[in-house]
Amino acid sequence: MANRVLLGKHPNHGYGLFVSRSAGTASGGSSIAAQNVLASDKSEFLFDSTAASQAQLLCWHQVTTTSSHNGSSVSFEYSNFGVRNFAFALCSQVGSASESASDISCVSQGSGSARASATYGIFGGVQGSLNSTADLGNDINFTIELTDQGSGRGRCIINRITASSSAKDFLVNVLIFKEQA
């Protein structure tokens, strides 16, 4: 079995904590050997304390935006620990005129039950035709901003910059990480 965890002086990388990956199976069914934590190539290590940051996830928060937010924003606060964070966002959008936010939330679902209308993606949650059917989410547009509020609190602002005529809900899933490399 390969050595998997090293706490101490690595033969190539100095003192620190290092964890290498376990064995696995590739998608084609072939075996992938475990990685020796004593290896000189640390690019596939699961943990490497010589890195400047481990980009720990502070929250994945789902925010509902409605037509009432057109041209305005919705925000939430979280613990940012007084250091710089970074974030990225995913989007869920309606796929038919009868759907609303509750139909497209991806948070969780009881085992064995379905919510087929719930999807998320980088450019929204509906994919298929490249048409521009009005008001079914194809016109979604938003930005996210992070600001430091002091005292270890951060604020995330989601600006819904859709047209004033946009009537449908869409959800923004924000992932916030601590901190800059």
């Binding site: 400047a52 502070l58 994945w60 613990s79 679902q109 379905a114 087929a116 949650g125 899933n173």
Partner: protein
């Protein structure tokens, strides 16, 4: 040399929390400010408007690749094709509910599987005013599509092409691409 790793009860942090602590290079792990640490296991949101993920790192539960072949569909000259990837919802279950995994997708470029496309699309309008999309892909995650017990990732890959100087459609590179996927156990919270 600075102390870099501490496992146990931290002697200097407020409350002396137990855990694993790793400082940034050149920083002392016995420091007391958040800027000292590259990793600490005692992070928890105290504001209360979000559900804390406690500084969780990504754990890739599934990864793999599938092939996809692009052809002209003969109707709209879309030069795109789709592939669906399934995964077991139970792998992201918290005991009673299935939750949504974080999905990363990349694709190869034509003739070269060592170069991967990141997410992105370019739109290009040809002389007949059709909109066409080149060099890119989209994906959506459908975590609870039915009662089969599987989640679904739907990936659409678009053929690569570049507009030339006079705006003519320059032809499209069809052929086989690879779609690479990784599913992280980091689950959505409210």
């Amino acid at each position: 040399m600075a102390n870099r790793v501490y496992l146990g009860r931290h002697p200097a942090l407020s409350g002396n929390p137990y855990g694993l602590f790793v400082s940034k290079p050149t920083k002392n792990v016995l420091g007391t400010t958040h800027d000292d640490f590259a990793f600490r296991s005692d992070l928890s949101d105290s504001v209360g408007s979000v559900t804390s993920t406690f500084g969780q790192s990504f754990h890739i539960k599934h990864r793999g690749e599938v092939s996809i072949s692009l052809t002209n569909d003969g109707t709209n000259s879309d030069f795109r094709d789709s592939v669906s990837i399934t995964y077991p919802r139970a792998d992201f279950n918290d005991g009673s509910n299935d939750r949504c995994p974080l999905v990363f997708i990349q694709t190869s470029v034509i003739t070269d599987t060592t170069i991967q496309n990141a997410v992105g699309m370019y739109n290009w309008k040809n002389t007949s005013q059709d909109f066409r999309t080149s060099m890119g892909f989209r994906f959506v995650v459908q975590p609870y599509p039915d009662t089969s017990g599987n989640g679904l990732i739907h990936v659409t890959v678009f053929a690569e092409a570049f507009a030339d100087a006079d705006g003519d459609w320059p032809g499209t590179n069809t052929g086989t691409r690879k779609v690479y996927y990784a599913l992280a156990t980091t689950c959505i919270s409210t």
